[in-house]
């Protein structure tokens, strides 16, 4: 595998290899010297057309821990309304000898276009495109779930029930998660008002419910999605108060979840409307842990795409080398 554009690019073996590699790399963060020489001499460009301090920092930390030469290319503010900018930027990066481009773009499909074009020869890693996908986020979510629900190298999420709540329509996290979680054997239920579910969702490999309370008792992991305030103005739901009553996470709902269930949030959290402080600060909320796991996952992806081994080499790859 050369690129990671969609969670659909990953077979079960690919996904488990990434999770297992991340598990080994995670041990590194506990050490005094957190750096590996794996990507020394390789150039990784973080190409961010859209603000995202969290994702960008996470990738940057991962790249530096693998000793890559890091270039941050903020395309924000440049004229992206004209179509040439992505192509011209790609040609520039190509000329600079980029071995990998981590791209965040406001337009769905931009990383796919970059990966298929002849503008660039390096690997393309999708760090979130429009309302399409965010595969490394899905991987770190799966990593977090596995640690809590079925820990151990080589394990998947077979039979685990995941409920994803909120703005599925506009969520790249939801799209990548449903694909990856299915690959790993989990059962996914989306919960949202009908206005925030995409047309055609009946064809997705998931259940759909409009009723959060009805799904809580049979949930192993509850993932909250961000709801942007401007959705209200576009009449996706009547008021924040009504949304919060029907789909917000609070202490009462937390109590209805099984003992072992975790509450996840990709952050940043909008406290009050979608999640109360009581839930956000509860030990069962994994939001902070997810951030740490994000670095391990991104190191694993970069390592596997650039470090010689490829995901399609599957389990035979000796990943322990990474942790030497």
């Amino acid at each position: 595998m050369r690129h990671l554009v969609s969670a659909a690019d990953l077979s079960r073996d690919d996904a488990l290899l990434i999770l297992d590699t991340a598990e080994e790399l995670a041990q590194l963060s506990g050490r005094a010297v957190k750096k590996l020489p794996t990507l020394r001499g390789r150039t990784v460009v973080n190409l961010f057309f859209e603000d995202s301090t969290r994702t960008k920092t996470s990738f940057e930390v991962a790249e530096k821990r693998l000793s890559a030469d890091v270039i941050n290319f903020a395309a924000k503010g440049s004229s992206v309304s004209k179509g040439e900018s992505l192509k011209d930027t790609a040609l520039t990066l190509q000329a600079m000898g980029a071995d990998a481009v981590v791209i965040r773009h406001h337009a769905s499909g931009a990383p796919a276009r970059l990966a298929q074009s002849d503008w660039l020869h390096g690997s393309v890693i999708n760090a979130g495109d429009g309302t399409h996908e965010h595969p490394t986020q899905a991987l770190l979510d799966a990593f977090t779930m596995r640690r809590h629900l079925n820990p151990g190298l080589g394990n998947d999420l077979a039979g685990r029930r995941i409920t994803i709540v909120g703005d599925v329509l506009h969520s790249r996290v939801a799209r990548s998660n449903v694909l990856l979680l299915n690959t790993l054997g989990a059962e996914v239920t989306f919960v949202a008002p009908p206005t925030l579910l995409p047309i055609g969702i009946e064809n997705w490999p998931c259940e759909v419910s409009y009723d959060l309370d009805a799904t809580l008792a049979k949930t192993d992991a509850l993932m909250m999605l961000r709801v942007q305030r401007e959705r209200m103005n576009a009449a996706f739901f009547p008021t924040e108060r009504e949304y919060s009553r029907r789909y917000g996470m609070h202490g009462g709902r937390l109590a209805k979840l099984p003992e072992h269930a975790i509450v996840m949030h990709p952050g940043p959290m909008v406290r009050g409307m979608e999640i109360t402080a009581e839930v956000a600060d509860s030990p069962r909320c994994t939001a902070v842990e997810q951030v740490a796991n994000g670095v391990s996952i991104r190191m694993a992806v970069l390592y596997l795409l650039l470090g010689g081994a490829t995901a399609s080499d599957t389990n035979s790859t000796n990943t322990s080398e990474a942790a030497k």
């Binding site: 192509k87 406001h106 931009a110 276009r113 970059l114 429009g130 047309i199 055609g200």
Partner: protein, 434 residues
């Protein structure tokens, strides 16, 4: 003027006959004609159809000559077998005055490859607010009969009503680009299973159907002629079928690409497939084919929409909408309609020449292939098989969804009032001895 003797052409797919063309007119048709002609063409295996008429072409001049000019656009039309095209009004400046429509009409005359009939804008600047001087455009040398804000929908019901009423005075027709604007805000492809998975803004079928439903009712109410541009959904077909059953004066067109391609292709995020209205589902394609076959949809119109490379060689979201179509239209229709047994060649002539000419009220075009008629003809080779190579196109742009695809058929020759514009698959310059 050069005279031509065409040997052994199947006229409208009928038996092979000879056709003698001289002085711009079909002089004789028959078996083994004995006649003196300067050029003899062996048309064995070729079909003779009346010159094609397009109701919906974007020639881009004035304003976007980097994408197309009247000259290159009419050359592409000739290569596709067309002898007349309607040039859409969304140019820069907009064709919303007598001056601009006359300019386009004159450029067409000078090109010599194809008749250019300008379409006048319905509203000033295509803004949907104020009627353009429809009467002045009709009275100009261009004699405009078809009015459209194509690219934009005349969404204000009162403006649409007034336009429909007003053009009755000179037997005009309003050609509507049916797109409810609020329902298509941020739309980038057909709304459905694929858009949901790709996370691209959806253009729902109902946004087209709701406008068509409203417009057929308005047209019936004021007793005027309505033409529906590029119908793309099964639901739209049902509404048009209902309106026709009521006896209302409604006509409709479908593009070649909506007869062949589906929204599944958008999974590639290749902007070659980005078009307005968007590619729909396989069920829609089937309904459109059936409607064209049974006559509910009157005509095939190309919606030829050339764009320069820089407007397409980019990411999906910012890419321009549209595809070129003049040079591939007849091949796509053969693939989708003839080779599938849905239409015979006589019906192809009806949907691509006779009916579009009648809708546009072009008297000298869309005529039968018979003695005494103006010699507007295309000789088409349905047995030809070839790979579409955009580099060989006459159009100035290369934005085709068929690149590298094997399509059947090829235009061998085109005649505009007795002058060959294309011979042996190549353009003939005006004044060049054939």
């Amino acid at each position: 003027m050069t005279s031509y003797l065409i040997r052994n052409a199947q006229i409208l797919g009928g038996p092979a006959q000879d056709v003698l063309i001289a002085d711009g007119v079909i002089q004789q048709i028959g078996a083994d004609l004995v006649a003196d002609a300067e050029v003899e063409i062996d048309a064995t295996g070729l079909i003779a159809l009346p010159g094609l008429v397009d109701l919906h072409t974007h020639l881009r001049e004035p304003g976007r000559e980097d994408a197309e000019t009247v000259l290159t656009g009419t050359q592409a039309a000739a290569m596709g077998g067309y002898t007349a095209v309607h040039a859409m009004a969304n140019t820069f400046p907009v064709a919303d005055t007598a001056g601009v429509v006359e300019q386009v009409w004159r450029l067409g005359k000078e090109s010599g490859y194809c008749d250019v009939q300008p379409v006048g804008a319905v509203t000033v600047g295509l803004e949907g607010k104020k009627l353009a001087e429809l009467g002045a455009m009709h009275e100009s040398a261009a004699g405009v009969r078809v009015f459209s804000d194509d690219g934009k929908c005349v969404d204000d019901a009162v403006i649409m009503r007034r336009a429909l009423e007003y053009v009755k005075a000179f037997d005009g027709v309003v050609a509507q680009h049916a797109q409810e604007p609020r329902l298509t805000e941020g739309a980038q492809m057909n709304e459905g299973r694929v858009s949901g998975e790709l996370g691209l803004g959806g253009w729902p079928a109902v946004a087209e159907e709701a406008i068509i439903a409203r417009d057929v009712l308005l047209a019936a109410h004021v007793g005027s002629r309505l033409h529906v541009c590029h119908v793309s959904t099964a639901g739209s077909v049902e509404i048009i079928r209902w309106a026709k059953a009521k006896g209302w004066n409604v006509t409709a067109e479908v593009t070649p690409h909506h007869l062949l391609l589906t929204d599944e292709l958008v999974r590639s995020y290749d902007p070659a497939y980005k078009v307005n209205p968007p590619l729909r589902t396989a069920e829609d394609v089937q309904a459109l084919r059936k409607a064209l076959a049974d006559g509910t949809i009157d005509a095939v119109a190309t919606d030829h929409a050339p764009h320069p490379a820089e407007d397409k060689d980019c990411e999906w979201a910012v890419a321009a909408m549209g595809m070129v179509g003049l040079e591939t239209a007849l091949s796509v229709v053969q693939q989708a309609m003839v080779d599938t047994g849905l239409l015979n060649w006589e019906a192809v002539a009806d949907r691509m020449s006779h009916r579009p000419a009648r809708i546009g009220r072009l008297t000298g075009q869309g005529r039968p292939v018979s003695v005494g008629e103006p010699a507007n003809l295309v000789l088409f080779d349905p047995a030809y098989r070839g790979t579409v190579n955009p580099e060989s196109f006459a159009t100035r742009s290369r934005n085709t969804p068929y690149k590298g695809l094997d399509l059947p058929g090829r235009v061998h020759a085109t005649f505009l009032r007795g002058r060959a514009t294309v011979l042996a698959g190549a353009l003939v310059e005006p004044g060049e001895p054939a």
